[in-house]
Subunit: 159 residues, 2 copies
């Protein structure tokens, strides 16, 4: 059991650390800077922020905790690539959404026991999970932290 608790702590520490890193980065960037492209011809910081919110919002569904908070972000920030002419949300709106989402997820994560993190997520069937028990909730956080860091490295270029 000790390793179960330790593993959850280590993975969640890295997730929380990454969320804090994003929050800090956002306080260091003006809205104007965030609207800039991270490199010539690449995504803007604002697009990447919307993309991260939409990706992390999906955790609610994957954990069987209800509906996404912001399903309207799927189309402009996941399905559609960045488009300089079509900004659907301002940095201020997205920052507020990020804050709400992180608070919402944190409240739910805090109620989970270590063992619950090793239960299956909703995108895998009972049958597949029996064969592949690593397709659990903790693994969702491992892959989302990885995704978050990938884009954090990009948004940091705007400083």
């Amino acid at each position: 059991m000790i390793n179960t608790e330790l593993s959850v702590k280590m993975v969640m520490d890295r997730w929380n650390g990454s969320i804090t890193q994003l929050d800090k980065l956002l306080t260091e960037l003006s809205d104007e800077q965030l609207n800039n492209q991270i490199a010539p011809g690449k995504n803007s910081g604002t697009y990447l922020l919307g993309h991260l919110i939409a990706a992390n919002d999906d955790i609610i569904r994957l954990f069987g905790l209800g509906d996404k908070l912001y399903p309207e972000l799927l189309e402009p920030f996941i399905r559609q690539p960045y488009n300089t002419d079509a900004q659907t949300h301002t940095p201020a709106e997205l920052k507020e959404m990020l804050h709400e989402l992180n608070h919402h997820l944190q409240e739910r994560f805090d109620q989970m026991t270590p063992e619950q993190w090793f239960e299956k997520h909703t995108a895998v069937t009972e049958e597949d999970f029996a064969k592949e028990p690593f397709r659990n909730k903790l693994n969702i956080i491992i892959t989302r932290t990885s995704h978050l860091q990938y884009h954090l490295g990009q948004i940091a270029l705007l400083k």
Copy 2:
């Protein structure tokens, strides 16, 4: 015990996936592209490659597995910031080093039992580890994967 094995598998899958992602990216970029800056005034892809090798090379020491393979990378790629006028290693040299290092680490990781991943690393004292058992070898891989992803997102901008 099952969660111990699962946790090691999940963390190592994300590490190995990230290493594969870097390898693939390097096959997609010419040496000339890799020498370019990821964004105006920022690090070059070559510098970031040297930086990642130097950072991951340190795992050997942290795991108590002997000396670093490439201690000469510490100065130009960790201590010194990127300098357009001072390229100490070519992309071809660094790619060879990366290949060797990954092979070296993989051989050693393959010999570890799941329980050994939860043992302390060499940068923490026995006394501190008793109080903070999360400062173990698996956690080193969690944080290094995070670091790798951060810079992967940047190197990918060179495509």
